[in-house]
Symmetry: C2
């Protein structure tokens, strides 16, 4: 084992496969941090995960383009509902400094106005961009998978 | 003008910029054909635009994975509503044999059960794959941008 590990360590920067695995893991980590920020209703944490010119597409609203609009949209979401959801990654592909992922999320939502708890379930597509060495959310769209009310 | 056109013609296959423009135009054409197929309620035409292992994510349902599931989902949509929508492309990027696009669509929907016509508006993300030389829809998610009913 030791010799294999030594080879991997020395070959790390030159090996495209290892670089791909690293990028893949970094994008997965962004999705994990996004899940945590959503569940914590933390707009600041969400915003650290978005890039310099992002688009967030909340349901029942126009696409929110740019960091200021994205911030306002998350503030609106978090003032209305408290999420408790878990993301599952179904497909994830890294293409140079761009990546995309298809995920779904499931859990519950508490509506703050009346404390009613409802089932939450969505499908999501993310487009990521690597900016200054860090993977950031560039485009994000979700849509409910729950039965029509 | 003739000399410029000659240069372009001879340089066509070798020039990455021209190839990028061609791919970009081909992906735009797929979106245009998708718009036409939706408005014609034509599942067969829709299916020619999807690739070999696609995902379609209709609202209020789990993600539909694979051509058979995608076909069934469009049959369900077209048996329920008649769409009359126009797509706008906001961002489109080609990365080798993968492309993504952010679009929105707007128009009207006629609900076949009661002939009621309602406003339709959605945000969309597409992931495309070039398969055997043709751009195909690999992933497609949309979500309503209309105010909550």
């Amino acid at each position: 084992m030791k010799s294999i590990l030594t080879v991997l360590t020395f070959g790390l920067l030159a090996n495209p496969m290892v670089q791909a695995d690293t990028n893949n893991a970094e994008v997965q980590a962004v999705i994990s941090r996004y899940e945590s920020a959503l569940n914590a209703s933390n707009t600041d944490d969400v915003l650290t995960l978005y890039g310099k010119n992002p688009t967030f597409m909340p349901q029942h609203a126009p696409a929110q383009v740019g960091r200021a609009a994205v911030k306002q949209a998350y503030d609106n979401v978090f003032s209305t509902i408290k999420l408790d959801v878990e993301f599952s990654i179904h497909e994830l592909e890294v293409l140079g400094d761009t990546a995309w992922a298809r995920t779904s999320s499931a859990g519950q939502t508490r509506i703050l106005a009346n404390e009613v708890v409802v089932n939450e379930g969505n499908n999501e597509l993310f487009i990521f961009k690597k900016e200054n060495g860090d993977w950031k959310i560039h485009q994000y769209l979700f849509s409910t998978s729950q039965p029509r009310q």
